[in-house]
Symmetry: C2
Subunit: 240 residues, 2 copies
Amino acid sequence: MSGAAPDLPALQRAQSLADQAYQAIREGIATGTFAAGERVTERGLAARLHVSPTPVREALRRLEQDGLIERVSARELRVVEHSPESLHELLLTGAALRALEARFATSKLDEAALDRMAAIVDELGADPVRTIAEYLRLAREFDREIEQAAGNPTLRGLIQSVTFMGQERRMRSIENMRFHPDVAAHRIQGHRDILAALRSRDPDTVERIFRHHAVAGVDLLLTDLDPTQDADRSQGRITG
Amino acid sequence: MSGAAPDLPALQRAQSLADQAYQAIREGIATGTFAAGERVTERGLAARLHVSPTPVREALRRLEQDGLIERVSARELRVVEHSPESLHELLLTGAALRALEARFATSKLDEAALDRMAAIVDELGADPVRTIAEYLRLAREFDREIEQAAGNPTLRGLIQSVTFMGQERRMRSIENMRFHPDVAAHRIQGHRDILAALRSRDPDTVERIFRHHAVAGVDLLLTDLDPTQDADRSQGRITG
DNA sequence: CCGCGACAGATGCTATAGCAGCGTTGCTAT
DNA sequence: ATAGCAACGCTGCTATAGCATCTGTCGCGG
């Protein structure tokens, strides 16, 4: 026997309709089912979800607090539409938050975790032109190591909240990466640098390097999305 | 005449009961009307607030999302009780967020704003042993300059959310400052240093200095609250 | 005296109904 | 034809009632 059976995560009771509505609408916003700027109503959504307006209302209020829904007037709710500036600000803030999380993780990552991350980086570097899904999976695994080591649920919640707001455009842009292998190479180099910084055990370096690459990723993302835009984003720049 | 009448902020229509309940409960948590760890129920609060359970329910869900209320079981809601560790983590995260906001503000603060901040610092330095309320008012004014210059509502929202969670203990601790003039002196010196950093126009310096003082403030706060605790907080330290 | 089971109260969740405010539409009067 | 007004409908908000589930207690049996 390999020891006592480990604790399994407690089975979640079936979520409430309000929770399901929350996730469904959130998902709908992320996937584009609800376009940015589109008006939504309690009764309309309730009909589409085959529930009463009550749980829908709750979901909308939470989404409003999340910044995904806004009330343009007293009786008009709309899916938030981010201006290029606010989206930039959003992604920049997210980048800084994730860099901060990496800082928290610096002193707590053990050798085993660093080795796992090295394996991920190697796998990424072995064949830079893999599928997007594969890249995303590995990158997420890399981030998860940092997340777990940091062990700061408060910060994690903030990151989740911020990153989600730009998710739709982000995902579309990630798909474009298929046509920009140099972008992928850039990001992979970022992972390499971050890992090296973590190995140095210096929190300042970790946060600086992480932030640098995350911000560069944001710039790539936005210029990729909107090629007509000027590449110079020194305005409000987050890195020195 | 001194020009056309400026736009006044639009008068908010009377807030909904749900909003009022949200603020009332939030306030109750901050002021200690609802103790940390205390159980709350929809119907109980509804009776105390003289409204129906519906708006109270909504308020509770939002507070739950804020991290002020937690569900300990499927049918038991409690006011969140922060462990010393999680409180420390919370305040540290808040400190880093505010430092980040200061970074955003660095390039956007005009001379007039810097002069106003200098006046505040001078006023603080003139008589270090003023009342707590006076100190808080001035410090808030100082922060507001940074906040306005940064102009990052997303980040601002995160800061609001995080800072509020530790507010109750924070306020009690601030009251203790009355008996610790050296703490006040320390903080005032912090404001001086931050202002000097802002004048240097170097974002890295600004963020570093701001974070340094904010973290020091957190340490003072916690050791002040719990004198038995070891002063060495290098564990999870946010500054190099 | 201890244990187990049933009943009653409490609690969160959902549906429904009705209210008040606002916008729109269509009609009417000039 | 156009301007004004009135009625209708849409929308968010609140209250209430009922349901399902859990908890705590009381009583009965061993």
